[in-house]
Structures are given as structure tokens and as C-alpha cells.
Symmetry: C2
Subunit: 297 residues, 2 copies
């Protein structure tokens, strides 16, 4: 049992992390911007406020840090100047964490750090880091600085690059909720051709991977993904079959964005070597998402 | 006349910047960690304290920012973890500056951002950025983030890469003061072979270059150097001649560091295009340094 600080605790991934840490018996401190959660010790604050992160860490003195907070507003976060504030806040957190006796930090990155124009299977060591967006550039800069900070202070800092998470509380505009939402309402689901291969992972498995990395003594970048290429068309058709709504699918109705690569998946060998195993496969994961959205739409 | 905030104002370059800004009639706010200066409005504070930079900027509301503060402790700054705190503080400053109506920021970088294993003449656009030290990596990360911040907010941010400054208040262990100090005391000046070609610039000219960049509407990276390769042996021999102490020179007494490149100079065309001209040539600059140290050793 450890004292753990989770930032972004009311977010899509954060709430799963908090739930699993509580279930494992840890003392969980949850930093949230807006919503208040049941269960953990909640610290409601604006982490972007200079000094707020350091003051929180000084109060909590966590042994482990899972830093998930970042700007995530759909349609905005890719190019928001707030990304730079999150670099600053991440450094402030990390410095305070080390200063107050922190033992293991896990920070969250993204597949957006990688060069997407390459072969599509991303390896932590060999795939070039060539982020195309302000979001990706700020994540990558944070990674570089966090890694250096860990080296200079001899403190383990793990960097978790999330690929494509789905599940409860996902933003409604994203693929899985958008398809489920349309079909549950009996409306057409307008999709692209759906031939893209992606690395979808249920958010509970993303959370368990982050917690695995927080065990202690873990350093460097880790791809967080299932490691299997999943055709988006297969996801969409599976959801439609479960809802008897295949007639509502409109493949090809939406163009594929120019920067949308045909293949983008994680080599997850480094994560697997940490002992992590996912709980869901694609079908059981989508069933879970479906059940959750059914009660809400 | 403008309201200007100078950080690192009591430092080697900072005090020259403050002096020249005051002489030009500006309202100068000087942020200093330790020493107090005469002339500007002094704000004594620890800029690394989270929130301190933002609070200062909110109080001063400067139109121009010249951010020179950084860790500079000789022998320590190349690898100090404090470099990461200076990245954070630089971002905090820049964000607050923009938020409170700032018009032109000038941040200070270093030739240590460049790949030193290349041809040795550094161009802002074409020389690879491949810093070999934590100091260089943190400067380069700050540059990337500051540049992005400027783009996203449409605020001009200039990045001044200083090469080799010398003059009053230089750290005593560095080349020019070390040679002068030894010779003034009648002690042997132990030197390397002295064949290295460097870009030496008097600190007053470094300061005037930074002020030139702060005029407004200036973006991107600028090499701050004289643009002329100067053999260190020539510097050392000139100083010795002025002091009638050539017999005290011991060339070859010290090995050259492995990572010390034979040639490292600035292409300064971009700076010259801004209208900057140096006041000192090598001899008049060294004479000035000599006169200053004479009164102090």
C-alpha cells in the first residue's frame, strides 16, 4: 500500500486509475479540475495555476505520482497554447515530487509523439520522434525533460505513450461513442472507409498498464497498447451487429484526414515485459463500452 | 521608452543590459536573485520558486521581457538538475508575459544547443541542434517551446544564442579573467595549446545585441557573436603583451577537453540584418576587460 497522487483523476483514464488503485488498497489522492469523485481524497484545484502543483505535492507528499492531467478538449487540444502550460505544470509536479521524497513517477505521453509517416508499428527505441502537432511536440518535450530529470536525480520516471483508448466516459465525439450513439438513436453512422488499422485498448487496461508502471524502479518510454492491428471497420461492424443496426452504417461518408495514417499500432513488448496483461479482448471490451453507453443515451 | 523586465539582472550579461536600457531612458525592472543594483526598479526574488515569476510579471506588466536568468554556477551548470527548473520558470514567465499584454520577449540561449562535431560555423537554420549536455538540452527544449508559444499566441519571441562573451564581471575561472588574474599576480598562466578558434564578443556588445532584438516584431533564433574566428592564443598573447608578461605564458600546460571543438563560431548575418553593430573590436574589448580587472585584482 502506497500514498499515490493521481492528476487528471476525473478524466477518461484517470477515473479508472483511481478506481483500480482504491481497489488495490492504496491511499489515493486525486487532483481534479472540476468534477468531484467518490472514494479517493480529492484535491480540487487548477494545476495550471503557477505554484498550485508544488503546493499540492508538498501537502500530500506522495510516494508515487501518476500524472495524467493535460488539456484534452476535443477539437482544441491538438493546437491549444495550453499545451505549453501543461509542460510547465508537469515539470513543476515532477520537481516537487522528487523534492518531497517521491519514489516513482509515471507521466502520460501519446502516440502523437511518433513520426506517423513511417512503417506504422511504433517501437520505443527505433521509431523516430517527430510530432506533427503542438500537442505532440509538447508531450515529446515533456518526455525529454522528464527523462533527463529522472537521470539527473536518479529517480525512476516512466513515460506511458497511450495509443487509442476506448470505454466508459470516452468523449462522445470519438469513434466508438459516436458510432454507438448514432446506432442507439437509430440514426445513420457516418464513417470513413474504415480501413485504418489502429491499436484499440479498453481504458481499464490502459489504467492497469499505468499502475503496472507505477510499481517502482521503472524508467523510460513504454507504448501502451494491445499490440494488435485492429481494422476500424471491424470495430464498427461489430458494434452494429450487437445492435442489429448494420443497415445504418455509411462507410465512406466521411473523408479520411490527410494526416491519418493507414497503420498506427504499438509494439508493446516492453510493457508486456513488465508483467502487464490486458483484461479485455476487442469483443469483450466493446461489449463493456456498449453496456455503459446503453444506460446513458 | 518602454517598461522592460530584465531577469538575471545582476548577472554578467544582465547588468550590462540594465545599464544600457537605463541609459536609453527605459523604465527598467530588474529581477535579481541576490545582489541589488543601483538604477533600475529592483525586484529581489527566487524566480525558481513556483509562482514567483508569474506574480512578478502580473505586478510589473512589462511591455518587453529580456529573460537572462538561468543557472550559471561555473563547473556546475552544465549538468545541474536546476536546468530543468529554468525551463519551467522560463515558460511561466513567458505565459504570464503574454497574458499581461507583453509585446516582445527575448530569451537567452547558447551555442551549446548546436552540434559541435560539425563544421564549426553555426547557422541558425542549417546547423543541427544536437546539444551534448543537460544545459544545452534544456536551453534547446526551452527554445522549441518558446518558439511554439510565440507562434500559437502570435507574439514575437526572439531566441538569442550567446557564443563566447567576455568582459567586466565575467566568472574568474574563465579564460580571459583567468589569464589576466594570473599575469597581474605575476604567476604563470597555464593554458592549453590555444589553437582553438572561438567567437569572442565583449559583454557590452552581447547586451546591445539582446536589446536590439527587444525592439519589437523580432522572432526566431539569432546567433549572438562577432562572426570572426579568433584564435585563443592570439587573445592570450595580446593580454600578456599589454602586461609585459609574455614570459609567464605556458601554452600546452593544460590538455584540451575531448569535447572542445577546434572551431566554434557564429554566423551572425541574421543579427547584423537587425541593424546591430558591435562597439568593441578584439583589442579595444580586451583593453576594456584588462582595465576593469586591473582595479580589482
Amino acid at each position: 500500500m502506497a500514498r499515490v497522487l493521481v492528476t487528471g483523476a476525473s478524466g477518461f483514464v484517470g477515473r479508472q486509475v483511481v478506481e483500480q488503485l482504491l481497489a488495490a488498497g492504496h491511499e489515493v489522492h486525486a487532483a481534479c479540475g472540476r468534477q468531484v469523485l467518490d472514494g479517493p481524497i480529492v484535491h480540487q484545484l487548477d494545476l495550471l495555476e503557477p505554484g498550485a502543483a508544488a503546493a499540492l505535492v508538498a501537502r500530500v507528499r506522495p510516494q508515487r505520482l501518476l500524472h495524467l492531467a493535460w488539456c484534452a478538449k476535443p477539437g482544441v487540444y491538438w493546437t491549444s497554447p495550453e499545451n505549453i502550460g501543461w509542460v510547465r505544470t508537469s515539470l513543476e509536479l515532477l520537481e516537487a515530487f522528487q523534492c518531497h521524497g517521491g519514489e516513482q513517477a509515471v507521466l502520460v505521453g501519446s502516440c502523437a509523439e511518433y513520426d506517423w509517416s513511417g512503417e506504422g508499428v511504433c517501437h520505443e527505441d527505433s521509431t523516430p520522434l517527430l510530432p506533427a502537432t503542438p500537442y505532440g511536440r509538447c508531450k515529446n518535450a515533456t518526455r525529454e525533460l522528464a527523462e533527463l530529470f529522472g537521470q539527473l536525480h536518479d529517480m525512476p520516471v516512466a513515460w506511458a505513450r497511450i495509443f487509442h483508448a476506448y470505454g466508459p466516459y470516452e468523449a462522445p465525439g470519438r469513434l466508438v461513442p459516436a458510432v454507438i450513439g448514432a446506432l442507439l438513436k437509430g440514426e445513420p453512422a457516418r464513417c470513413s472507409h474504415g480501413e485504418q488499422l489502429r491499436d484499440l485498448l479498453h481504458v481499464a487496461d490502459v489504467a492497469s498498464a499505468l499502475i503496472q508502471l507505477a510499481q517502482g524502479g521503472v524508467q523510460g518510454a513504454f507504448n501502451i497498447g494491445g499490440g494488435q492491428p485492429i481494422r476500424l471497420r471491424e470495430v464498427i461492424e461489430y458494434l452494429a451487429r450487437q445492435l442489429n443496426a448494420e443497415h445504418l452504417l455509411q462507410f465512406g461518408a466521411i473523408p479520411v484526414a490527410l494526416n491519418d495514417p493507414p497503420l498506427l499500432i504499438a509494439d508493446n513488448q516492453r510493457l508486456l515485459a513488465q508483467g502487464w496483461q490486458p483484461r479485455f479482448d476487442l469483443h469483450s471490451g466493446l461489449d463493456d463500452a456498449l453496456a455503459w453507453w446503453r444506460g446513458r443515451i
